[in-house]
């Protein structure tokens, strides 16, 4: 089980006089269970890469193969289902639904998968417990701190039991303490549950914690190291 990209390329404004080559000819392979940081300055193409391997953005060229499935060839509906069942997302701004409680936010994505209410409830509570929010189940996002919200987002991303979790600059809005807490949780989940995390960042403290670092510059991979 892996993510495999071959000759992956994304060019914005392709047909204009000023095409933007966000990702250029990328060959990359990520195995299940990895804890990968994609590092690079702003505008280097990190978001574009995560979006493409997460099945959100469509590559201009090349393929993304996840578990033998070429996700670029999937139709809209099939892609949504594939994404829902295989890939979790964590966003920089947490992006929780503001009108739902922490618990409901996590339950909601599971219900979309068609699980029973009881199953959703139980798993959501377990996950929120794991991220240390067992006491905050019924609070709506605006009553939680940024770090807490992002932990709800982690629980939400994990709720459908995805193989991969894409986190685009998950700690960018967090203070040092919350960042450390979040990374602890992610690392724990990675080590205990074998959840694959791929996160982008330009924070050196975050990069320190990764086991593999992919350095990105101007849409190109300049370094790929284990640590």
């Amino acid at each position: 089980m892996s993510i495999q990209t071959t000759q992956l390329r994304k060019t914005y404004n392709q047909d204009t006089d000023f095409p933007v080559h966000a990702v250029k000819q990328l060959d990359l392979s990520i195995e299940q269970g990895e804890f990968v940081a994609v590092m690079g300055p702003s505008g280097s193409g990190k978001t574009t890469l995560l979006n493409m391997i997460g099945g959100i953005d469509i590559p201009s060229a090349g393929t993304v193969i996840i578990d033998g499935i070429d996700i670029c060839a999937l139709k809209d509906k099939a892609l949504i289902a594939f994404r829902r069942d295989n890939i979790g997302f964590i966003f920089q701004d947490y992006s929780l639904l503001p009108v739902l409680t922490a618990l409901e936010n996590v339950e909601f994505v599971m219900q979309l998968q068609g699980h029973s209410e009881k199953e959703c409830r139980e798993r959501a509570i377990t996950l929120l417990d794991q991220v240390g929010l067992g006491e905050q189940l019924h609070k709506i996002p605006s009553k939680l701190s940024g770090g807490q919200q992002q932990r709800v987002a982690v629980a939400r991303a994990l709720a459908p039991s995805p193989r991969f979790v894409m986190a685009d600059e998950p700690t960018a809005n967090l203070d040092a303490k919350s960042t450390a807490e979040l990374l602890d949780i992610m690392q724990q989940l990675n080590e205990k549950e074998g959840t694959t995390f791929i996160f982008s960042t330009h924070d050196p403290r975050v990069i320190k914690r990764a086991r593999r670092v992919i350095v990105f510059e101007d849409g190109q991979l300049t370094e790929d190291r284990a640590q």
Binding site: I56, D76, L97, V99
Partner: protein, 414 residues
């Protein structure tokens, strides 16, 4: 969960939601009130004017409409009218024989309309005896007549005087007779006042030598709302082999086309106003739904990234709009229903000139409200239709929503 989500989303912008719902409610109340009043006054006008002229429905000989002739008559037998009598919605049936004749008294003469009626039945329907200003009302076996005040003045006649009626009777026979005046009637409409002579039906049948025949059976329904049904029933009942091509069932619209036209115009005006009102409110609703959509592009993107299929996203927005509309409808009905019901049972009483004019015509000077479920259903359907219309563009935007741009927070369509 989707319903819960939609409901809670509504209250993210509490003020906007309430304002939009209130605007819808207000439009609904105003429209409902206006339409109920319109329909109520039409019904009132129709019933009132039917009383004093054509009635709601008439059975006539098929040729009568064209010829207005004493030759084209229907049987005045119980057997003939029995099918109509059996109908539940039929409240009363009045036989009438009408024809033109020349009235002469002294050295003056004038063309008049002779109306042979069953006096008691007519009086029950239109209280015509109240309009007798001199003398007395006629009875069925009298051989005397009632005469319009204007006509009496023209012919210089008073109660107790006699007048000669002269005209053409059935099958070319001569119709002539000398009749005593039993009473003088004041009709508010000058055309009638100067023209009408009422006599008992048997007397008129003798005058015109028609035997047991009438020129019209006037039929009144219990409820105006049952008119259509009754009309259809009558048409069916009088279309048997024997009566085919003989009986013409006509309603008031057919009998009094000017009034029908006037009502149609007035109604069109009212409906135009109503749509104008809803149009204005509709813009508000559209703006609200559009804002609800555009300001949440990023949120929609996140929902789609986390597994919400587009159809459900569309469903969510439809649900949210439905909630606003239902809220508006509920508030509107909650306010509008008591209002319409109250004014239905306590009609607005008119004062001043209009009131006097109506009293003069023998009408009650009121503005009644029609209480009809259809008027309510109409309003609800209009609101729902309006909502669907307002949803089209926002839904299209969501349908075309591009996940990448949405996640970046943009509202661009690719």
């Amino acid at each position: 969960m989707l319903i819960k989500l939609a409901w809670r989303n509504l209250w993210r912008q509490k003020r906007r939601t309430i304002l939009t719902a209130m605007a819808l409610a207000l439009a609904l109340v105003l429209s409902l009130f206006m339409r109920s009043m319109q329909e109520g006054s039409y019904a009132n006008n129709i019933e009132n004017s039917a009383k004093f002229s054509t009635g709601l429905i008439q059975l006539q000989h098929v040729e009568f409409e064209e010829s207005q002739s004493i030759e084209d008559l229907l049987p005045a037998t119980d057997e003939f009218i029995a099918p109509a009598r059996e109908m539940d919605d039929v409240e009363r049936i009045l036989p009438r024989l009408e024809s033109f004749a020349l009235a002469a008294a002294g050295d003056k003469s004038k063309g008049v309309m002779v109306l042979g009626v069953m006096p008691a039945l007519e009086d029950e329907y239109s209280s015509i005896s109240d309009k007798v200003v001199e003398g007395e009302f006629i009875k069925a076996d009298d051989s005397a007549v009632l005469i319009g005040q204007g006509l009496a003045e023209y012919l210089s006649l008073a109660v107790g005087d006699e007048l000669v009626l002269y005209g053409q009777g059935y099958r070319g026979q001569t119709a002539a007779g000398l009749y005593k005046i039993k009473g003088i009637v004041h009709f508010p409409l000058p055309q009638l006042d100067n023209l009408l002579i009422y006599m008992p039906l048997p007397l008129s049948q003798t005058l015109f030598s028609t035997g047991e025949q009438v020129s019209a059976w006037v039929i009144d329904t219990r409820e105006l709302t049952r008119l259509e049904q009754t009309l259809a029933d009558l048409k069916r009942a009088y279309s048997s082999q024997k009566l085919k091509n003989k009986v013409n069932v006509r309603d008031w619209e057919d009998l009094a086309p000017e009034m029908a036209q006037q009502i149609a115009m007035d109604k069109a005006g009212g409906i135009f106003m109503m749509y104008l009102l809803y149009g204005v409110v509709g813009f508000g609703l559209f703006a609200t739904i559009l804002m609800m959509t555009l300001e949440r592009y990023r949120e929609f993107g996140v929902m789609m990234a986390t597994g919400l299929v587009r159809a459900k996203l569309l469903g969510l927005v439809v649900l949210e709009s439905s909630f606003i509309s239902l809220l508006g409808v509920t508030i509107g009905l909650a306010l509008g229903t008591p209002l319409v019901v109250w004014f239905h049972y306590h009609p607005i009483e008119l004062t001043g000139e209009t009131a006097e004019m109506m009293l003069e015509l023998g009408w009650e000077p009121i503005l009644p409200m029609l209480l009809s479920p259809w008027l309510f259903i109409d309003q609800i359907l209009i609101v729902l239709g309006l909502m669907l219309l307002c949803l089209l563009y926002p839904l299209w935007r969501i349908y075309r929503l591009d996940l990448v741009t949405a996640l970046k927070g943009g509202a661009h369509v690719n």
